[in-house]
Every structure is written in structure tokens, then in C-alpha cells.
């Protein structure tokens, strides 16, 4: 009941400054910081040639990314200092705001189209991609709702609001169209239900419609290509497979140790979206399999510590929020690497923290702010009560 044991570890005698340092989850913070800075370097390497040609400024993308990181870090520190528990009661608002933002994409004078898809809203040069925000909006909603309903999780009807919210969000994103984020969101809310305590057989019910599609696809495999080509024109804007081929050339050229930083040849316009969706290919080309392994390891460290935060969270809401945030990162890393290695059909999905993209980096860093706050709160709670909160 008393904190005497903790005192002996020296928390109590630590200064405020020291205290803040102690409470910071260093593996998470530094791996994210490393990935972001590494991202800027890779973005510069991948885009300097194309940026010079297109904008007359080889730092064009790198500079934008740096601005994104600075904004993101500011946001991270602000959010880090807000108790996450305050978010719990706004979980419905998170859903509503997310859906509104997604719907705004379809308002003509606000929407910004590119590559045949409408994914951005903005005024003038300032644009944001609502789906990047919506992913975390959904996580917050699920965490809030499921932590409230944890005692009724064995009933299927408890799942229905989440299914409706997730389904609605999927439909809106699909309409943009953005197949890959749709899949990402779908995976996220299923994961949230799983973590929230839904019964496996209930989750299994969700799989039934998916399973129904499989025999159709097996009968006529071209349908899959059609489906993807139809739903996500961005990924098929160029000759089908061209990006993938170029990505494999990049990775293949890299070999074990890579051709050396800044030495990529594929970045000379051969590999489309080299600075964003296909940045991992450039990493593979310049730094080789070893470099890829290193980056994947750092992501895994991040995911591992993210789950630890979830495990150690002092509230169910915090736990669900933490594992939701971590899962969004994990699923995007997995999808992105699967795409660039040709393991799944090409879809446009950025690699968290590394790919160029302002909204993405700001939102991810903000989410890390939440994650770090959950960890800070649970450490404080440990200090204050030195027992595992009971439910």
C-alpha cells in the first residue's frame, strides 16, 4: 500500500527534471525519433533528383518532412502532457469528427484530388488526409466504447456499434477510393474487438462474408485484379505491375549490404513514389538486406514496447488505446513491406514515420504522444499506489 519499495528505487528523491526523464518511455520515444530522422535522410536520398526536376529544389520533400516532424513533435509533447483518461469521455466525438472529416472529402470546394482519387481536404496549399486521422479516431472510439462495455463483451449485440462505426468508416474511405487504408481500418477494428474481449466465435462470424468471396476469386482469379484495379486506381495508375517490378529491381540491386547511402539508381525516376509509398525499396537498395532488417527490428522494438505499454496500462481504456495505436503502426509497416516485396498487390500505404507525408507524420507522432502519456500515467499510478488496480 505504501510506496516505500519504490522509494528505494529512487523515484521519490528524483528531481522534477529527472522525474520527467524517468517517466519517459525511452525505447518508444527514441525509436520513433530515430525512424523520423532516418526518414528525412531517406526521403532526401530518394527524392532529390525528382524534386530537382519537378520543383527545382532537391530538398523539396525533405524540407516538407522536417516541417511535419517539427509540428508532429510539438503535438507529441502537448499531448504527452495531457492525461489520456480525459479522452475517454470524448470517444463518441472521436468517431463523429472522423466521419465528418471523411465526409468532407466529398464536399466539392474542400476536396483535393490527385492521381484519380479524392483523399485530401484543404484550403489552398494546406491539405490534410482525413483517413490518416480517422484510423486513430476509430481506435479512440473502440477503446472508449469497449472499455465501458467490457462486462457485456460476450454478447454479440455489444459488438454491433463498433461494427457499424467501423463499417461506415470503411465505406467512406473505400469511396475515396483508398483500398489500402480501408483494409487497414478493417483490420484495426477487428483487432480492437479482439482485444476488447469479443468472443472468438463472434469474430469468426465476421470472417463468413470474407470466406464467401474466396471461392468466387478461386474460380476466376482475374476478379481479384479487377477488384483492386477498380477500387484503387492510384496503385494502378501506371501499367499494372510497373511499380512492383521497379521495387523488386531496387531491392534486388541492394543485395546484402546495399549500394550505399545516396547511391540508389532506381530513384532516377524509375521507381514511382520512391519518397513515399516505396521508400522501403530505396532503403533496401541503398542499405541492403541488413539495412532492411535493422529498420524492421526497430519497428518491432516499437511494437513490442507499445504492447508493453498496453499490458502495463493502469486502465482498460489505456490498455486498449495503447494496443490500438501500436496495432495501427504494426499493420501499416506490414502492409507497406508486403507491398514493396510483391507479397500482396500494390496499394498506396505509407511506411509510418519514414515515408514522406505531412499528415501522416504529424498524426503518428501525436499518437505516439498518447502512447507515451499512457505509459507515464501507468508509471505514476504504480508510484502512487504500488498495486495493480483491481476491477
Amino acid at each position: 500500500m505504501v510506496i516505500s519499495q519504490k522509494k528505494s528505487k529512487g523515484y521519490a528523491i528524483a528531481s522534477n527534471k529527472n522525474m520527467a526523464w524517468q517517466l519517459l518511455n525511452k525505447p518508444i520515444f527514441f525509436s520513433v525519433l530515430f525512424l523520423s530522422i532516418f526518414g528525412v535522410v531517406m526521403i532526401y536520398s530518394a527524392s532529390s533528383y525528382s524534386a530537382e526536376l519537378t520543383y527545382g529544389d532537391s530538398f523539396f520533400f525533405a524540407r516538407k518532412q522536417i516541417v511535419g516532424i517539427i509540428l508532429g513533435l510539438i503535438s507529441l509533447f502537448i499531448i504527452y502532457n495531457i492525461d489520456y483518461k480525459k479522452f475517454a469521455k470524448y470517444y463518441k466525438w472521436a468517431l463523429i469528427i472522423s466521419l465528418v472529416l471523411l465526409a468532407l472529402v466529398f464536399v466539392p470546394f474542400l476536396s483535393v484530388s490527385n492521381y484519380g482519387a479524392t483523399r485530401w481536404i484543404g484550403f489552398g496549399s494546406f491539405t490534410i488526409q482525413p483517413s490518416e486521422i480517422a484510423k486513430f479516431g476509430l481506435v479512440l472510439f473502440c477503446a472508449g466504447y469497449l472499455s465501458k462495455k467490457y462486462s457485456q463483451m460476450h454478447k454479440f449485440c455489444t459488438l454491433i456499434p463498433v461494427l457499424v462505426a467501423g463499417g461506415l468508416m470503411c465505406v467512406l474511405i473505400m469511396l475515396e477510393p483508398n483500398m489500402s487504408i480501408t483494409m487497414c481500418v478493417g483490420a484495426t477494428f477487428v483487432f480492437m474487438l479482439f482485444m476488447g474481449g469479443a468472443k472468438i466465435k463472434h469474430l469468426g462470424l465476421l470472417a463468413i462474408p470474407v470466406l464467401c468471396i474466396i471461392p468466387l476469386l478461386l474460380m476466376e482469379p482475374y476478379r481479384l485484379e479487377r477488384l483492386i484495379a477498380f477500387l484503387d486506381p492510384w496503385s494502378n495508375a501506371q501499367d499494372e505491375g510497373f511499380q512492383l517490378v521497379q521495387s523488386l529491381y531496387s531491392l534486388g540491386s541492394g543485395g546484402l549490404f546495399g549500394v550505399g547511402l545516396f547511391e540508389s539508381r532506381q530513384k532516377y525516376l524509375f521507381l514511382p513514389f520512391a519518397e513515399s509509398d516505396f521508400i522501403f525499396s530505396i532503403i533496401g537498395e541503398e542499405l541492403g538486406l541488413v539495412g532492411c532488417l535493422f529498420i524492421m527490428a526497430i519497428f518491432f522494438v516499437l511494437i513490442y514496447y507499445g504492447f508493453r505499454v498496453a499490458k502495463n496500462a493502469s486502465t482498460r481504456f489505456g490498455s486498449l488505446l495503447a494496443c490500438g495505436i501500436t496495432f495501427v503502426i504494426a499493420i501499416q509497416v506490414i502492409f507497406n513491406i508486403a507491398v514493396v516485396t510483391g507479397s500482396i498487390p500494390p496499394t498506396g500505404l505509407p511506411l509510418p514515420f519514414i515515408s514522406a507525408g505531412g499528415t501522416s507524420i504529424v498524426v503518428f507522432l501525436s499518437a505516439i504522444g498518447v502512447l507515451l502519456n499512457i505509459d507515464k500515467q501507468s508509471k505514476r499510478d504504480m508510484q502512487n499506489y504500488a498495486f495493480v488496480p483491481q476491477r
Binding site: 474481449g197 529491381y249 538486406l289 519497428f299 516485396t341
Partner: protein
């Protein structure tokens, strides 16, 4: 607790999720391992392929020279001049330089230099190296050049069909350019450059060169000055005889070396009429090698040689020609319908009497005659170094009836190429050995290495004595009769011929190929000449009138070019004076004209039904010999 979901359960599910994620990460890593290590080499090889561009370094095509080292076809390096307006700093001064050096107007140059939004504009094509250097020296910023190697024919419309032309991408399409394309073209090199997706060169690009190997040069047996003379003579024929075409070949009958060869009409090789395909294809065809024709009387040399070699006749045997022969019931006319009367074999040759040669052919018989014709190469190609040579055509031996045999005897019912006929006659008059005609004496590589092309393996076709006897007859034909090809002081031998043309398998009325074959010196020939006139339409068509005078014209020019002095000029001139000047008969009554001719010791032919002479051939004032025939057109 059974119905509520505990934190411990969360922990379990977290662990499950982490394990699943770890598993997926490992799977992705395995996939990366495959892509980067197992297939890495394959992928990177393909990638290298798309990173580099190899620009061909064009090999310089070999030149073609005549026997004295005059260039007939060379490669010229020209430059296309471009401006990139964005790179032009001072449009006025650059435009000034361009207009001064290239002769384009200043206004045009200024517009090109100052038009924004255009990445590149062509100022002038085919600028010379000196012009390019002048622009470079003037330091005109924003001006660029592209080099191109271009075929250039210094004499343009000369040897058009012999040299041949190139396609746009410098491949030989006809003539020697095509036949020797493999030797001439050289081997292109490569410049490997690294570029981006659309081929823009990279800044730190290292260009790797694989140098080109220039083509070999051809040293031909052609003689530029004789060629010029021949072409001029043919041009005169085209004009004077209003002919459809005129052909000439000058060859060394002992070696087969072609000294000059020309086809008219022709075009300038530097300005190939590529947009007029029919003209281009027709006029680029070397018809002396590619096309066959019915030779007519020039073929009689072959019949005569076979007859003499077989000893079935002698020079002094007397033949009677009533103007026709009846062969197996068919009446075959001599060209002179009133007949040549009694004449010796030699006179028959000089008169070109068809009846005599019908007799000779019939005496030889099909088998023997064919044996000789095959020896002379009539039914085969000459193997000349030229693309698309045709073989002569003989009727299948089994189908030859006596009427056919008789006709073949005077050069009908048989087809040969001009070069084939000349080769056959050469082998008869050169002492009796076969030859292979050729254009190229040696091929010289860019490094100086030389391949000499030698004509090999000649075989005997007739004996030395037969050869000498034929030469004597040809000499007599010119000296005694063919005054129109006689050059005083020079011992020329010759034979004329006139053949009907066939169109769609039937004789085309009024269409003839008139030809002349001349040898010099007749005693021991070093030159053999063929002049052929296709469809002369200025009135006359007999080879003696249409082709022989131009044979003479050419020989005269040849003697002056080669500085060959006349021999026994006095005697020849004396002989000339004994010759007859043809009187003017035009406008006179037919009876008057005929009696005037007989008074002069000339014979006549009448064409037409009128009573008044409208035209005469030979023309008034021309020199001729006793008993020559004047055609009166009424």
C-alpha cells in the same frame, strides 16, 4: 468473472497478437531475403539494363574508288545545328553568328533563339565541319550540334545504278553499295551512358566507349574519265534518238574488269527520289546486269564462233540470200527483204545477213549449237560482283525445232543480259578463254589491310585461231562496211544488232533495242564496248544507224582520254575519201530519189506508200560506203 473479460485475458490476447505480428515480420524478412539475395542478381542485372542507354557510335562507311584512286562514294560528316532558347543568353549576338556562318536570315535566327517555351529548335541541317567550328569559335551559348555521317557521291548523277544508293539508315539498297554492304558498313560502336527513366544523362555519368570500326573501302576497276565519256555519249543518245533508255558497258575482254558502265535515265545519288518509288526502283536498276533482252545480230558472233570452231564453214564459202530462208516450211525473212544476193561468209557477217546464220545454226544442229552456247555462258550468270544478276535464257533443248534453231542463229528466240553477251563475246575474241566480269579489284580495310579479288579459273571456250578469225571479221565489218563506227587511224572491230522487243510475250511493233559491240584494238582487243539504245524513236532503229555512231563517238573520246595515237592515219583518210556522201533526197519524187541513189552506188529500201520522199536515213551529207542502204520514207 466468467462473463467479464479480465485484464489477464487482455494480456493473453496481447501476447497472441505480438506473436502473430512477429511471425508476419519473419515471413516478410524471409520474402526480403528471397528478393534481395536469391533473386537479387537477376533483378539487378535487369535493372542495369534499364539504367544504361547504349548510343550507337556510327562506323564510317567505306569509300568507293575508281582504278586511279578517284573517290566515287565517300562519307561526309555533317552537323545539324540546334538552339535551345532557354540556354541562349544573348539572342541578338547568337542570331548574328548563326546568320553570318550558316547563311540563314538574321530574323529567322533571332526568332528561333528567342522563342520561349520551345526546348530545342533546328536552325540548319547538314552544316559543314568548318561552319560548326566557326560557331564554336564564336562561343555562341545555347547552340548545339548533332553529328551525322552522310554518304556523299562527289559526281552525283554518275554510275547511279552501279554504285547504288543507301537507305535512310545507311544500308546499301542496290548496286555495289548493296553487294559489298557487309564490307563497306563497318562495325558500329557503342557509348554506354547512364540515364534516368526517360534517358536524361546523369550528372556524374561515366560514358564508356566501345569504339566503332570503320568500313572497308572498295577499289574498283572503273575509270572515272571513261565513265564520264560514256555517260555523256549516252546522254547524247537519249536526246538525239529520243530513246526510252540507253546503256553502255566498257570492259577489258581479257580480265573482265569493268571500266565503265552506265544506264540512262538515272538520278543524282545525292538526291535519291525516295518519294517517287516507281522512278526510284526503275532508275536504280542496273538493267545491263539485271534485265535480259533479245540481242539480235550481235549474237551472230557466237553463232559464227561455234561454226568456225566446228569447221563447218570457211570465210570464203559463198552463200546466197534471196532475202529469206524457208525452214521446215516456214519462211524466215532476212532483215533486208530484197536479199543480199551472193556473198562470202565474211561478207555475210559484215552484211549481218540472217540467212547465212540460219544456215550455220542448222548445220551445227541443236545439240552442238547448245553445247557452244552453254560454253559461252548464255544460259547462266556471269558471276559478276553485283546483286540481282539475271541468267540468260535459252529454250529448253527438247523443245527446239529447226525454225527456232535458225532464229537463235541470228540472235532471236534467245535472251541474254547485256553484260552476259559482252562476257560471252569477250571470251571469244580474247583468244578464247572464259572470263568473269567484275567491278572490284581490291578491298582495303581501315587499318590498311588489303584483300585482292582475283578472277580465277578461266577455261578455254574456242581456239586461238577461231578467236583471231572472229576478230578479223569484226574488224572488217567496221573497216569495210560500218563506216559509222569507223575512226580513221584506229583498228576498231564491231558488230551491230537490232532486236525486237517483246511485251507480254508478243512482239511489240515498232519497239526495238538497237545495239553496237565494238572491240579495240581489233588485232588484240583491250577494250570491248557495248552501246544499246532502248526504243529509239527519232526515226531510225537499225543498230548501225542508232548505236554504231555513238560507239564511234565514245571510242574517239576514249582515244583522246587515254592518249592513244592513230596509226596509218593517212591510209584510212584516203579510204574515207573514197566513201560516198549521201545526197539530199527529201522532197524529191520517189523515182528520182531511187535513180540518184543508184548513181551514187547506194542501195535503197522504201517505207510507206507515198510518192514523195518525206524523210531519208541516212541523212543527207553523211558518209557511207558502197552498196549501203538508204531508207526512204514516203
Amino acid at each position: 468473472m466468467k462473463t467479464t473479460f479480465s485484464l489477464l485475458s487482455i494480456h493473453k490476447r496481447l501476447l497472441t497478437a505480438l506473436v502473430v505480428i512477429a511471425f508476419i515480420f519473419m515471413a516478410l524478412f524471409a520474402r526480403l531475403f528471397f528478393v534481395q539475395i536469391i533473386y537479387g542478381k537477376t533483378y539487378s542485372a535487369r535493372a542495369v539494363d534499364q539504367w544504361t542507354r547504349d548510343l550507337p557510335l556510327e562506323a564510317k562507311r567505306g569509300s568507293i574508288f575508281d582504278r586511279n584512286g578517284n573517290a566515287l562514294a565517300v562519307c561526309q560528316t555533317t552537323y545539324n545545328v540546334y538552339v535551345r532558347p532557354n540556354a541562349v543568353k544573348d539572342a541578338t549576338s547568337v542570331a548574328r553568328v548563326l546568320s553570318d556562318v550558316l547563311g540563314v536570315s538574321f530574323e529567322k535566327a533571332y526568332t528561333l533563339c528567342s522563342t520561349k517555351g520551345v526546348s530545342e529548335a533546328l536552325v540548319k541541317m547538314q552544316a559543314t565541319e568548318a561552319q560548326m567550328q566557326a560557331i564554336v569559335d564564336a562561343n555562341a551559348l545555347g547552340v548545339y550540334f548533332s553529328q551525322n555521317i552522310q554518304r556523299y557521291y562527289p559526281y552525283g548523277d554518275l554510275l547511279t545504278q552501279v554504285l547504288g544508293y543507301l537507305s535512310i539508315d545507311n544500308q546499301g539498297q542496290s548496286g555495289l553499295e548493296a553487294f559489298y554492304d557487309y564490307y563497306l558498313k563497318g562495325i558500329n560502336g557503342k557509348a554506354l551512358t547512364e540515364g534516368d527513366l526517360i534517358g536524361r544523362e546523369l550528372d556524374d555519368n561515366l560514358v564508356q566507349y566501345l569504339p566503332s570500326i570503320d568500313g572497308n573501302s572498295l577499289y574498283t576497276s572503273l575509270d572515272l574519265s571513261l565513265q564520264v565519256a560514256l555517260e555523256n555519249v549516252l546522254e547524247v543518245i537519249m536526246q538525239k534518238q529520243e530513246a526510252k533508255g540507253a546503256y553502255g558497258i566498257l570492259m577489258n575482254p581479257n580480265t573482265g574488269e569493268i571500266l565503265a558502265m552506265s544506264n540512262k535515265p538515272s538520278f543524282d545519288l545525292n538526291n535519291v527520289p525516295r518519294d517517287d518509288l516507281t522512278t526510284m526502283l526503275d532508275q536504280s536498276k542496273n538493267k545491263t546486269v539485271v534485265d535480259v533482252y533479245e540481242p539480235g545480230s550481235t549474237f551472230k558472233i557466237l553463232t559464227m564462233a561455234a561454226a568456225l570452231e566446228e569447221n563447218i564453214t570457211t570465210e570464203n564459202e559463198v552463200f546466197y540470200d534471196p532475202g529469206y530462208r524457208i525452214v521446215d516450211g516456214d519462211r524466215i525473212k532476212c532483215w533486208r527483204t530484197i536479199g543480199h544476193g551472193s556473198q562470202t561468209l565474211t561478207e555475210g557477217f559484215c552484211n549481218s545477213c540472217n540467212s547465212v546464220f540460219m544456215d550455220l545454226a542448222l548445220r551445227l544442229g541443236t545439240d552442238k549449237f547448245y553445247e557452244y552456247l552453254e560454253k559461252f555462258g548464255v544460259n547462266s550468270t556471269t558471276e559478276i560482283d553485283f546483286l540481282g544478276e539475271s541468267s540468260g535464257i535459252l529454250m529448253p533443248i527438247s523443245q527446239v525445232k529447226n525454225v527456232d534453231l535458225a532464229r537463235i542463229g541470228f540472235g532471236h528466240a534467245v535472251a541474254v543480259t547485256m553484260v552476259g553477251l559482252l562476257t560471252a563475246i569477250s571470251s571469244i575474241i580474247n583468244g578464247g578463254t572464259s572470263i568473269t566480269p567484275s567491278f572490284v579489284n581490291s578491298i582495303v580495310a581501315s587499318n590498311g589491310q588489303t584483300i585482292s579479288l582475283k578472277n580465277n579459273a578461266s577455261k578455254r571456250v574456242v581456239s586461238e585461231s577461231t578467236s583471231a578469225r572472229i576478230r578479223a571479221m569484226m574488224s572488217q565489218a567496221v573497216n569495210k562496211q560500218e563506216i559509222r563506227s569507223f575512226v580513221p587511224g584506229y583498228d576498231i572491230g564491231g558488230k551491230t544488232g537490232t532486236a525486237q522487243k517483246y511485251e507480254n510475250g508478243v512482239i511489240a511493233s515498232g519497239k526495238y533495242v538497237s545495239s553496237f559491240i565494238g572491240i579495240y584494238p581489233a588485232e588484240k582487243p583491250e577494250y570491248i564496248l557495248l552501246i544499246a539504245v532502248d526504243e529509239p524513236s527519232a526515226g531510225a532503229y537499225y543498230g548501225s544507224l542508232v548505236a554504231a555512231p555513238y560507239g564511234k563517238m565514245f571510242f574517239e573520246q576514249m582515244f583522246s582520254i587515254l592518249n592513244i595515237p592513230p596509226q596509218d592515219l593517212e591510209a584510212d583518210l584516203e579510204k574515207m575519201e573514197k566513201n560516198i556522201v549521201v545526197p539530199n533526197l527529201v522532197g524529191k519524187g520517189l523515182a528520182t530519189a531511187v535513180s540518184e541513189l543508184i548513181e551514187c552506188g547506194l542501195q535503197y529500201e522504201i517505207q510507206g506508200e507515198g510518192e514523195i520522199v518525206q524523210n531519208q536515213l541516212l541523212p543527207a551529207g553523211s558518209l557511207t560506203y558502197k552498196d549501203d542502204i538508204v531508207l526512204l520514207i514516203t
